[in-house]
Symmetry: C3
Subunit: 437 residues, 3 copies
């Protein structure tokens, strides 16, 4: 498995995020469809599905489909205050169509801004109740002139469907790794264009591997309702095949690394994620399950119970630009940030793909000197013994896996994996794959 | 299950302790019988039993019965120095009858006082060897006049019986909770009138419940020999039915909370007791098994092995007034202290009675907004999501109990229990009882 | 089991080490044979075995046999610089025969010294490649005169055999304790004459016991290749019978105590060793498995997997005199050091021999007062209760062993063992042996 962990991947993901920026995404509608179609140009095998409005999924109902042409707000002097051509966040998500004139007083009930972040346009939605509204910077709102305002919200909100996409990469077994991300957030970068672009990069990386131990399932869906719909349609398959899952969100900035573990907190995938982060960053923040807030809420729900982790950079809720127009490709997300987000999950997958049960084939220690691995002159306290190689070998008893041994000798999985391959080549150990089940 | 945890219970227990104060209790005799008869006025179903002197129980033999009319000591000037009408502690428990005149020198071998606590009358007994003696304040003893003293110990010490009482409250199952306390201590308050009066209050509280998951067995017996006798007579029944037990001792002062866990230290009842104390007090003291000193020595003995905890206020041995006349209803025990002692065990019982295995009935998260539990407007980092309710629900997988979940989300059992009942009412979870077995 | 832990044992071991000092030991040859023959004078049952050069053992081949008559080096002025009659370390172990004249420049490639320890002769060997060389103090080497040097290495290096010895002490079961030490180190004291002399003392101690629960197997062999050869010849027997093993090395100085645990780190023998060291020394150093460097590398190798610990004084590599002429009987090893090394393993063996499963025979606590073990006068907080005896008894439930109980009450094994014997004599507990298996 060769690593494609160079900075070109970071640049490629960053540039793809720029291409995806402008679509007016929501949990349904054409902005979502255009996004998925653009993903399909990179992943031709991507299957796009529609779920009709009104269908019951789990405890939920698919809502009407929302399509926005444009939303604008003019002040009493005729100057444009908000325009979704400037920024999709200017309109409250799922705003019903409205065209008319209102006083500033009437308008205020429809405006959303953040006094504590006066230059930020907040991200506001009203999926399950009919409303209309605008979002704007508080410093703009505070200077609005008294008088009458013209409102033009050119949207439709009527029965249609919810769109999601799925990609399957078959492997040598039916055991599956699930990668889920969401595609409903308009014009924000870390939360959430980073998830989809890293997911695409991972899918391309995996599709190029000569062989895959696991089969892979990528899901690109709107958050919450999309995940619920996907689970509803695929529950038996998911429960039967998926042995571990990654939720890709907030994987684009270069500030820190974060982990949201599984509900249980001690599944194999948690150990894998912790191993990766321990060796990838000098420190990282592990959050408790109670801090969850993404699609693990659905995939790890009691009756679904898929062991899903989120290996993130700056976690949603925890960075100041979260859910505002400031979460963009200049301030927050960078090629290096995306590269790190990609690399963390790639390494976790590499562990799952390569973890093995090595077992010594010799009785007593191997004689390394006759294999040219050890100086023939024994002297003093600092011998030329390849200590790590022998430490690793000493644990090859057929019950400990590569990851177990890596954690025991406190080295990175891939280093230990390489030593085990060397021992295998020297015919000192035999190796069998170690599957998650 | 409504809580009767108001201060009236504290006052009621305190007043009852005042009524019980004067009886000359010992491990046998009429002081003990009168005490049990007064308890029976509050618990009409109480069964009083007698075990004859000389019977073999376990490794022990029931001793002769001791009855004290009065014990007095006169100094050379004819002034009374000790009189059990003043305080039952003035005579050594189980003093044989004696009437005569002795010199001060001869008398000294029969006197007991505490130089380090000069105003305290110590509590001394001689159950298994024939003696007589007086206990008095060291400041009094130091000023005794030389000369001859008149001794009048009007007691009987001859074959009779040992008395104990038992109350059974049937529940919906044969699984039993045992509550044991002892009734042999004369004229001391925390150790031990607090245990009997809290036990009576608990029995009344439990008898008023509409339903009880468990059956309850209350034992009021003299310490050690009474417990051994009770176990001897009921061993098979105890081993078959009792799933958890509380030893009620030192539950009357308002200074602190203490726990003596089971011998193993990790039984379910230990978890329950720790949960209660963690949420009842800002901190409490947990003692090791090696600090035991009450009837868990018998009930948790190797071949009996009942998981018994003592949830105490100030533990025996650990407060300065222990086993002296200073352990009284003015200095040590208070209504608030008794109330806290009652409440701690009541809460532990509430957990045992209500602990359940909740299981979600929906696939994916419940949609709270359509149930009016969640604002329909999603915005910013501080949503109006009822986070605790969802955290609790997220653990409702049918394997974790209410107590497990309460410990995971770090909330009090009754708060989490109430949320689970709310989820049950909303038909989002189904609930089955979780029995100790 | 009476303890022979007096200082006479330390003196006896020390004096025996002095006797063994002069033999030119190596992994083969007559120095090794003479050493084993001298051990046999103390252990008449010792069986001495030869393994021919060229035999394959495990991953290794028995090398040619090396015998040294004498090695000398003369400087240009005719003065002797090195002579193995002065110190066996002066010649590189396994030096091939050589006789001739070389310039100082040519000679330098054959010299070994330690610039950081200018007064120490280093210990250097070249078992598996043909070389010759001298070891000397760096302060001597620095002052060597220019000119030609005469070299006389009177050795033979040709097919012969490797020698090891074995002693078996039968016990009441076929379960075995293995004690291994090595006899290949020339003229060094802690590493390694301490191991063989302590092993001899232990074997004598065990042979004098009235009964042994376990059978014992002592192996005296050259390090690494000797252990590999021994394992190769006895693998099935070892795997079938050996339940715990001690590697005796570096047990002669009085500076500290050290533990190298088993590979797993949590075997029963690890608990035993930790218990012994916790009670023997105010503190000791526990090393990780990765710090191993002795024959546990062979005995605990994956396919052999014997649980072996090394309970040491100053561990190899960790003391400044290690593997130099400074590791001698004056600077490093002392009678008290050897005594401590002996005592540590003796105590561990005592635990293995005596560990039991005590079980109470009485229901409820035993009545100690009628057995004269407890004052009949109950008073105050400081009773004369034999608390430790009752604590120990309270754990006698038939599932906890003497060692478990000793760890729970935090007392030394032999103290708790003695209390259990007392309880057995009083017929309050019954005792069954607790075998390692």
């Amino acid at each position: 498995m060769s690593s494609d962990s160079d900075l070109r991947a970071g640049e490629r993901m960053y540039s793809f995020a720029q291409d995806l920026w402008r679509y007016p995404r929501s949990i349904t509608g054409n902005g979502l469809r255009s996004t998925l179609n653009l993903l399909k140009t990179r992943l031709p095998e991507l299957q796009i599905h529609e779920v009709p409005s009104g269908w019951k999924v789990g405890d939920w109902t698919i809502p009407d489909e929302w399509n926005l042409q444009r939303a604008r707000l003019w002040d009493p002097s005729g100057q444009v205050v908000c325009d979704t051509e400037w920024n999709n966040l200017h309109v409250v998500g799922y705003s019903e169509p409205f065209s008319g004139v209102v006083t500033l007083d009437e308008l205020q009930a429809h405006l959303h801004s953040l006094p504590g972040q006066p230059d930020a346009i907040p991200y506001v939605t009203s999926y399950y109740e009919r409303r209309w509204g605008f979002c704007l910077a508080d410093e703009v709102r505070r200077n609005l002139l008294p008088g009458t305002y013209r409102v033009e919200i050119d949207s439709t909100l009527r029965p249609g469907s919810l769109t999601y996409a799925e990609l399957k990469l078959p492997g040598s077994t039916v055991h599956e790794i699930l990668v889920s991300t969401y595609v409903c957030h308009p014009s924000m970068a870390n939360n959430e264009l980073s998830g989809p672009v890293v997911a695409v990069e991972l899918a391309q990386y995996l599709s190029k591997l000569d062989e895959r131990r696991y089969s892979y399932r990528f899901v690109f869906a709107p958050e919450t309702i999309g995940a619920v719909a996907y689970i509803h349609k695929n529950l038996n398959e998911l429960k039967q095949h998926v042995v571990a899952a990654f939720n890709l969100t907030c994987v684009g900035d270069d500030r820190t690394y974060s982990l949201l573990p599984t509900r249980d907190g001690n599944r194999e995938i948690d150990r894998v994620a912790r191993h990766v982060l321990r060796h990838l960053a000098t420190n990282h923040h592990e959050y408790p399950w109670e801090s969850r807030g993404s699609d693990e809420r659905q995939y790890s729900a009691p009756l679904v119970d898929i062991p899903m982790v989120s290996i993130m950079r700056s976690k949603y809720w925890e960075y100041p630009e979260y859910h505002t127009s400031l979460d963009d490709l200049e301030r927050v997300v960078s090629p290096a940030g995306l590269q790190g987000g990609f690399e963390a999950t790639r390494r976790a997958i590499e562990i799952l793909e390569r973890d093995s049960l090595p077992k010594s084939t010799v009785i007593g220690e191997p004689m390394l000197s006759r294999r040219g691995l050890y100086s023939s002159l024994g002297a003093g306290r600092f011998s030329s013994l390849p200590q790590l190689l022998l430490d690793v070998w000493s644990y090859c008893d057929g019950t400990l896996s590569t990851l177990d041994i890596a954690d025991k000798v406190r080295h990175r999985f891939d280093e230990v994996d390489q030593l085990i391959r060397q021992l295998e080549t020297l015919q000192i150990v035999s190796v069998t794959p170690n599957y998650l089940r």
